[in-house]
Symmetry: C2
Subunit: 252 residues, 2 copies
């Protein structure tokens, strides 16, 4: 196993830059933190490098592969970590670049901004057996650490592809998907009234402004969830999860 | 209107202390930030004092009541604010102390720790016409600014009461509530199989550890949501909202 002790080491600096989207985009890599996420990355065959603090090597013997592991100091862990009291294990994972085409149940994120919402939706999509998530270019980066954390590792188990909305809708239309767009307009259909086809995509919009014109233009149906008039809207991760739940296979 | 310009003013220091739970508990007051929440507090008759930066008074003329308003500097707004670029309006609101007894649909939060989850659940409970939220003493303070923010002001429109779990279950049992406890055990009923009565309470547990023994002991039913085995669990705000949605009045 290699050992690195200097905070000034070039490789450590290279990893630290992965905190910025720009470098994640350039390298196709991202940082993950803690044992749970590292184990999920290994399972998904996405772990490139493992960094373990020397004090804690014994706790991670079962996941250490000699040629992939670097033993580091706690200061290095702290430099790469996003939390105040990090677990002593950090992974460098590779981003998913497969663009799975044989899919039936798709989630489309149109300009979502909150990383917690995006991570939670990835987690729900996996839980409800969706095949794929399309993420518009204007949506927060899914390899942002808050997204990864809120996804609870689901990010490693579901196909996620970033694309322009026009391209996303071209694929969905050409492949006969029912495009179910969520929007709180007066003439939206209630979710409870919607009949879904075998192949469908659910489109969710921005936290403050809702879905874009491009999404409305491509909608097969525009739906909303029935609720009290005492409040304007639901949290988008909640609304999206309720719709995914309701339309999931086997729903009765 | 009073004018305060000094950061050292005793009243401003008193308000700043409301950032800590201890002082919120002592005074029954809490801070709210931004026009949207202030307007909701006014509607709910909960606004005690309004602080407006002098530069922005003209934008808030319609909500300014002379005897409740203090004109302050931007530095004072910054001192009281939780955000980096605050709106120039902050409210001091009073906590809800009514303990509404004539209720049918109740949400119980047993030791939830994440303020975003708790705020989101308050928002969903209002959206789905629940009457009341019981919050265990071990749950994060609902007047924490992150809870208030995530609730989108729903905190002003639904009855929320903090109590010990024993006392909560005593009330629910004595009043013939069906107590529906969520837990991912093997012999939990699927939500889809559950029959709900007219009066019921949904109990949600801690993000990491689930519900407490006290809740399990008092359960009429233990339920879970059907999902893929590719992931352990849903986010608790999502799970709770799906259950509230499914069991809401008029659900078909």
């Amino acid at each position: 196993m290699r050992v690195i002790k200097s905070l000034q080491n070039e490789q450590i600096k290279y990893y630290a830059r992965l905190k910025e989207k720009k470098y994640r985009d350039e390298t196709g890599l991202f940082l993950i933190e803690g044992e749970h996420l590292v184990r999920m990355a290994i399972e998904a065959n996405c772990l490139v490098t493992l960094l373990v603090a020397e004090e804690d090597i014994e706790n991670y013997l079962d996941i250490i592969e000699e040629d992939k592991t670097i033993v580091v100091t706690e200061s290095i862990i702290n430099k790469l970590s996003f939390t105040k009291t990090p677990q002593n294990v950090i992974g460098i994972a590779k981003q998913n670049i497969v663009d799975k085409k044989e899919v039936n149940h798709v989630l489309v994120l149109d300009t979502l901004q909150d990383p917690g919402n995006v991570g939670t939706l990835i987690r729900s999509a996996l839980a409800f057996n969706y095949d794929k998530i399309y993420v518009s270019e204007s949506t927060v980066d899914v390899y942002n650490e808050k997204v990864v954390r809120a996804s609870q590792g689901a990010i490693f188990k579901i196909n996620i592809v970033k694309k322009g909305l026009k391209e996303i809708y071209r694929f969905l239309s050409n492949n006969d998907f029912q495009i179910i767009v969520t929007s709180l307009t007066n003439n939206s259909l209630y979710l409870e009234e919607l009949k879904s086809k075998d192949k469908f995509a659910i489109v969710l919009g921005n936290e403050g402004n809702g879905v874009s014109e491009e999404s409305l233009k491509n909608a097969s149906n525009i739906v909303k969830i029935r609720m009290s008039d005492k409040i304007d809207s639901l949290n988008v991760a909640v609304a999206g999860s309720i719709i995914m739940y309701r339309l999931m296979e086997g729903y009765k």
